[in-house]
Symmetry: C2
Subunit: 194 residues, 2 copies
Amino acid sequence: MGGQRVIGPRFRVRDFDLQEGGSLNSNDKSSNSGRDFSDLWNRPGSLIRRLHQIHVAIFLDECSEFKVTPVQFGVLTVLYDGQTLDQVTIASQIGVDRNTAADVVRRLERRGLLVRPKSTGDRRAKLAKITEEGKEFVDAVQPAMIKAQERFVSSLDDEDYDSMMRVMTKLLQNSNEHGRAPLRAFQKTGSAGK
Amino acid sequence: MGGQRVIGPRFRVRDFDLQEGGSLNSNDKSSNSGRDFSDLWNRPGSLIRRLHQIHVAIFLDECSEFKVTPVQFGVLTVLYDGQTLDQVTIASQIGVDRNTAADVVRRLERRGLLVRPKSTGDRRAKLAKITEEGKEFVDAVQPAMIKAQERFVSSLDDEDYDSMMRVMTKLLQNSNEHGRAPLRAFQKTGSAGK
DNA sequence: CGATAATAGGTAGTATACTACGAATATTAT
DNA sequence: ATAATATTCGTAGTATACTACCTATTATCG
């Protein structure tokens, strides 16, 4: 169960010529780090993008019967304990843009998985709170989510897994300021002054 | 240079209650691997998604004067040596969906960075070939792309960098079949039959 | 040769993820 | 208290990334 679609075309390359030409990047090791980004798949960004893409595919496959996306489940995860949060806070917790968070919340509201009471204190704020149905939904999906995570990293032994998680977390902590929507979870505590 | 936008709100958490409630995931180490995905940021998928997001942000920042995205630059990279490829081949080379590739190619054509001659042999196929302007564009953007990659991983020492690249590549090789748009670059050579 | 498969491309719809802009409300500084 | 600033949310637009369905063309098999 779950798609099982045969993926697609094998062996491309047909009537087009394969002459190998330009050099591109010319591998100038003289630059800062000596890391080689000449090949598309030597670029960390390419690997990350593709890995993200594959994770989403696996997640959607494992959770296909629930029709839920990783980000949607992330929102429900942070609301699970009953907190009532506004959109900006939700965005910063799950690490997405404010507008994206608003979209996601809207869709979850449409499905009755959360409600959006107005804030009494701040008349600008539109809060979000998980419903009983939402909590039951999370409980139901949880095993599939875990399966997706496990399947995603199933080819790694413990050493490689720990290594990857450690390095990715490190990267995230140091890059947090760059992206939009910095995470509170990774925020440098002392950087109030900027 | 490049934006310098002050990121945003610090200290959320205001008029909403912070009672800590449910257990969620209950940390059942009895499952297959003993890996703990209870926290959102212990999930490889969350880390990957966020890292991808940050890389895109850095890439767009470094390449802001060129108005180009990572995927667009990926297409230009595979076409740089003068190959004439159809959309399906391009998709499989850069690792995106066929439809996404069609979108990207359309935008690059609109900017004159590539042309789309019809295939003489196969009247279905619409090919893509980089223009002289496209090649010059790649040459101009290349340093910014490299800068983006270096900035993205700047917090890693050589050991961590090598480790991450190795593990990510390993993960990709083993997960290639799962995602849509399997990469030729990572295709298992022996699977010709199937 | 003719029916069937596979392949290439297109369109439409949805979700994530941004930017840019504007309106309403809240906070702060003068 | 008033003005300036910050914050919250909204809309609209673009790009990536899919699914689902469609047509046209090519390849394959009986």
